[in-house]
Point group: C2
Chain length 770, copies 2
């Protein structure tokens, strides 16, 4: 563990400046508002190792792919999130010496990120080489109320003697992606304009011609009074700034407040971009820092009201879960159907900022439970808009007649990933996209979605599965060859139980969904199916036939589902027996050894047992958990949460708690020594699931939601909010029992343990543990 951070219920706090932690903190203290995100880089120059990162949602680059040996079907491009304009920059000179925390003496350094209001602040006392001492304080936020606005309040106090300062607020588009495959620059400068205390700069991306414009305004005060300056202006094709000279008397404070707008051509006509950027920055300045911050805080308060989780008696667990919720909201707000949740959000470049099945399998439940339904629905719409590309992806592999294969990794619906065993074979992702529709419907009861994209997506996916299986004469069954399950430590296997199970479920649910949609609007449903060229009798008949005869490997003797053909032929040695020096195995073992071992990267059979829980009895859950969990090395950040939930479900609360700890503070404690590259945003949703679905015991039987909370022995109490249908419920769990309070919204029905209940606003239910 590398916890240089202080435990705190509502904040990240870093005290003392250690350069070696810098890149980690840059990721951990990232701020974002769904539209844009910014690593916690310093405003002033920093000459040590740093990853400056500023990202605008939806602005990506189709980087030329890099492969060793080409396989037919591979995509040519790997889309990646673009490191965009450096808008935070304020260069500082003190008596001609550049302020650079890597080169000066720093004391009393404190950095804080408050989850309640998403405000990043930093203080330090600095002694320059030239002997000058100053106190530095910087605050910034990207507005949740005005997504295109960021604001910085940057204070310098002269400590011992008066300081001659040069300040240079700037915008810089000359930025590169560290993960560029061929060391190419992705931006080209367009326009630059600079005036006194204002500047605007725009650039376009190569290939796709995304345009981004940024503008700033700033104010200066000295000792609380406005300071009039006559800046020197700098204007280059990729860089604009103002240079200001100011004398700060000893004990006095200079405050530079920088108001920045960052706009993209996703939201504005390219020709108006520059002007709009300028106007928004100007408007932000008129509103002022404090008022901007207030409206920003209001939005955050609403988010916390909908979805806070409170844990008593375990401040680190409290910090971990709130941090997870906080970062998820920073990454995705559901305002824009073109956006999604990159595994690292706006906190780093790795994994290209693209969309993975993480969204449907992990993030969707979080947004369903903590936000208005429209947020989750945007995630469904995102995939619906990509349906044409999904059909193209499938066609590239040889599928036809509207079969859709959603990509493993994507920005615009096209597959980006190039590892045949993943790209072509880890097709269970297609099931997750279908399951998300089902999950959304049961949670929100918004069945109308089926008529607004759901049916098309479900039919496309079902058609894929119907073509992906084939009849085995030998077995007298349909089989599914050449797949990789969620456990990526097995590649190109036959009859992966999870993939086949979810395929079968998709075929079944696509049929049910057509019936549901028909029930809502027969005519419209017929129109949709006609447009799809759907052969109702033939296709549905074949789907049923496949479901009835699909091979699902089971071990009758052990009473378990078999992960894939051949798995039981392995040497089965519990992971606990592995020498600690060889963990994680993906850093110590050859790929050959990993593949042939029995070790499981993340839930595979158990992913299915988790998703389709109601299909299995307790004995089945226990036997599969007891067989597979000990073989699981949890080397994906997505692994522990599912196991934690299942452990809770079968009454192993201590095991559930142990596994919960592996997920909830993954980044805060930097378990995998990689947080500097960016946060594990999508797995943070797994932490939320571990509490709500695991300890909170939220589960489903058909359309009925059930709550069966339990309390880990390490906690005194915990409580979570749950957006459920039209209501916000607050579930509080203590040693004594459970209280469910209807906080707002309409009446909702659910089950608390074995009793059906209906609650209205203000209503409270109690369940005693004794």
């Amino acid at each position: 563990m590398h916890s240089y951070l202080e435990p705190h219920e509502w904040k990240l706090v870093e005290r003392g400046f250690e350069a070696e932690n810098l890149e980690r903190s840059e990721a951990l203290f990232s701020i974002g508002n769904g539209h844009m995100g910014q690593r916690a880089n310093f405003e002033e120059d920093y000459s040590g190792p740093t990853l400056r990162g500023s990202y605008v949602a939806g602005v990506y680059y189709p980087d030329k792919t890099r492969v060793g040996w080409w396989k037919n079907g591979y995509p040519e491009y790997f889309a990646k999130v673009l490191n965009s304009v450096n808008w935070i920059g304020i260069r500082v000179g003190v008596h001609g010496e550049n302020l650079d925390l890597n080169r000066v003496e720093v004391s009393d350094f404190v950095r804080e990120l408050d989850f309640r209001d998403a405000l990043l602040s930093r203080q330090a006392v600095v002694r320059m080489h030239n002997g000058s001492r100053l106190s530095l304080s910087a605050k910034r936020f990207v507005s949740m109320a005005r997504p295109e606005i960021g604001a910085i309040e940057y204070r310098i106090t002269a400590l011992d003697r008066s300081l001659n300062l040069e300040l240079e607020p700037y915008l810089d588009f000359d930025v590169r992606n560290k993960d560029s495959n061929y060391d190419e620059g992705f931006w080209e400068g367009l326009d630059a304009q600079v005036g006194s205390q204002k500047a605007v700069l725009s650039a376009r991306t190569r290939k796709l011609d995304f345009r981004v414009a940024a503008a700033f305004r700033f104010d200066l005060t000295l000792d609380g009074k406005p300071l009039t300056v006559y800046p020197e202006t700098v204007q280059q094709s990729m860089y604009v700034s103002n240079r200001i000279q100011a004398e700060v008397p000893a004990g006095k404070t200079l405050i530079l407040t920088k108001y920045v707008s960052v706009l993209s051509s996703l939201d504005h006509a390219p020709e108006t971009l520059l002007k709009q950027a300028d106007e928004r920055a100007s408007e932000a300045r008129r509103v002022g820092f404090e008022a901007l911050l207030e409206e920003h805080k209001d939005r955050w308060a609403q988010k916390w009201e909908l979805g806070d989780i409170r844990i008593e008696g375990d401040v680190k667990a409290q910090q971990g879960i709130r941090y997870s919720i906080f970062q998820l909201h920073q990454t995705y707000t559901g305002e824009d159907e073109r956006l999604n949740i990159g595994p690292k959000g706006f906190t780093g470049e790795k994994y290209g900022g693209s969309t993975y099945w993480d969204t449907e399998a992990y993030c969707l439940p979080f947004y369903l439970g903590t936000a208005e339904p429209k947020v989750a629905r945007q995630l469904l719409t995102y995939r619906f808009k990509h349906l044409t590309k999904a059909i193209e992806n499938a066609a590239k592999l040889g599928f036809h007649r509207g079969a859709a294969l959603y990509p493993m990794v994507t920005m615009n619906g096209e597959e980006c990933h190039n590892e045949w065993e993943i790209t072509f074979e880890e097709i269970h992702r297609n099931g997750a996209v279908a399951f998300a529709v089902y999950n959304y419907l049961r949670h929100t009861q918004d069945s109308a979605y089926l008529l607004e994209g759901g049916i098309e997506v479900l039919v496309g996916i079902a058609r894929f599965w119907a073509q992906r299986v084939h009849w085995s004469e030998k077995r007298g069954a349909f089989v599914m060859h050449g797949v990789t399950g969620p456990n990526e430590y097995e590649n190109n296997v036959n009859n992966n139980w999870y993939t086949s199970y979810i395929a079968c479920w998709c075929l079944h649910y696509a049929g049910s969904a057509i019936d549901i949609a028909s029930g809502l609007d027969t005519r419209k449903t017929q129109d949709i199916l006609e447009k799809l060229g759907f052969d109702a009798a033939g296709e549905r008949g074949r789907w049923k036939h496949i479901c009835a005869h699909l091979w699902l490997p089971e071990d009758a003797e052990g009473g378990i589902f078999i992960q894939n053909e051949g798995f039981l032929d392995k040497e089965l040695i519990p992971a606990a027996q592995l020498p600690p020096a060889e963990r994680p195995i993906n850093q110590h073992w050859s790929w050959d050894r990993i593949l042939r071992s029995c070790y499981i990267k993340q839930a595979d059979v158990l992913q299915g047992v988790y998703l389709f829980e109601e299909d299995f009895d307790r004995g089945q859950m226990e036997r599969n958990f007891d067989f597979y969990e000990p073989l699981t090395v949890h080397e994906s950040s997505l692994s522990p949460c599912v196991h934690s939930i299942l452990a809770a479900r079968i009454g192993r609360i201590d095991k559930a708690y142990e596994l919960y700890l592996r997920t909830a503070r993954l980044d805060l404690d930097d378990y995998n020594h990689e947080v500097a590259e960016g946060l594990h945003i999508t797995s943070m949703a797994g932490s939320w699931m571990s509490v709500v679905q695991g300890f909170g015991g939220m589960r489903w039987e058909g359309a009925d939601m059930i709550l069966e909370p339990a309390l880990p022995s390490a906690w005194k109490a915990y409580a979570f909010h749950l957006k459920f249908r039209s209501a916000v419920l607050e579930v509080s769990v203590t040693q004594a029992g459970v209280e469910v309070r209807h906080r707002s919204g309409g009446a909702v029905a659910f089950r608390l343990f074995d009793r059906a209940q209906t609650l209205e606003t203000g209503g409270v239910l109690h369940h005693s543990f004794t």
Copy 2:
């Protein structure tokens, strides 16, 4: 088919100049002598598409590898053959206009490559833009008698009027590999010296510091008389030349004879390289073109005497087989144990010029049957010298205690290839290396080799297999997971029959070999085993135990061996039913589709049936052939020959002939539209095997060699020479029967059909077909 070449029994002949055929001809007319090789580029400049290629055996470059996603165990470098000094170059100006066959009018173009003497010649009549007409004639060879020497006779005859010529013989090291991964130059110039009618140039390779020096001398005659010239000299760091002006009267001929030496630091101390190169070129000039050519021809005559194949009544088949034999001898002579046979020899860059299992499985039998035993033995020594690296390769994957895994692709013993399913899994190659020892021993009876490397290699390989299998409780057997057989259209499968079978054979043979060696020299054998830390009882016990319990998948019902687990679950549709437009499938289908299909790239189960023929009865051979051959798409150049041999073995001579045609003229007819990249050298050995082992019916029962020839109906007769133990046999087959004549060497015993025979020099045997 793209046969722009004339059929001829002993030559390649290209008549007429078509620029579109240029790169193909550059590969097809390549010359080489084991030490160096040269594509058939023109001596003068050529501005059209061309791949200039000059290669020095053993001089390679460890190019930085390129992968999409790194897997633990991958090598960092991909060694590739280096395009080396352009030594053939003669720039020609005619009245100031550069002679460039891409820009002038060419007529009466004839290019010939004579297999008997490996002499490349070319003639053309040229009209320059400036109206000058000349006749051009060039001959060159790289000496089989003096491997470091190449000689060029370059003639220009002035046709209509006298010509003012500028000739510039040069050496140029500023060459690049077209297949460089990162567009880097691999050479750095060292020394350059130029004098009158002489020059010498040396360079070193980056990273590995190989040094190569080249030198030239030249003579000029005009109308048969020596011409005295005063050349202008050009000396740059990577380029040296002489520029000569000469007036050639109408009807007269100017001859420039260029003598070149190309030496490398593999054979000379770096400090003497330059001087030696200069001396060798000088010496070659003293000997003269005709005398050099005579001694070169003598060496070739010996090669043909040992290993010619004569086919009557089928000139294209005759040309194909002689071309194959010819190119194999050009590529490898067995003079140097550090060298091996790259799949493209000296004819292109693709596949890096590295060593593959092709050598042991295909080339070794050819050299055993057509050359002195020392040639084949060098190939064994090559692998023995790489044993330490093979042990390192295995260690990188997690194996230990001296287990050796020979690489899939290598230059110096280190693995170069980076596709996990090949690098880590196509491990049957290890079996081929062991089998080569066995094959060498039974053919030559040189059992002493076991004491000079054989035992170490066999024990290292056996140790690998013993660790690579594991015990399956479920099956009560040893199993081998995660392999790719020779059929690379199946990846990461379990219990590939061929791999398991050859593994078992290796374990068995390593034990036998130890016994044989002990019988020869107990003390020395003990010393070797002690050095290996060999636990005789423990290890041999375990080997036997594994062999006795290794899972070999069989289908009792169909009486066939199963290629790998799950194969019989596939949809089994004969390749003949594939739409022709979709062939070859590797160009038309996604990798996903290929993997899940039943189609077989090259012999897999049948590779085992071929190698271990004597273990199976005729029924087994027939059933497996009838099951697998129809599913085989022969998309490896190594595929048809094995099938042709097996077809012959089970009496399907017409099928054998059909498959033989697919291999013997693969490059001459450019079946795969890729000959421009280089020839398929290693599969040429398969053509030889198809005749000798297929139609010729050469096979083994234990240590007994058996000949059972048959005659394809398309041929009137055929005859082959066979180096067998100390003898050279000539086997002639006509419609009437078979004649075996002992041409030279000591008495040898073998079986002709079912009769044991012993032949001495001059002895003849007859077998009548009627």
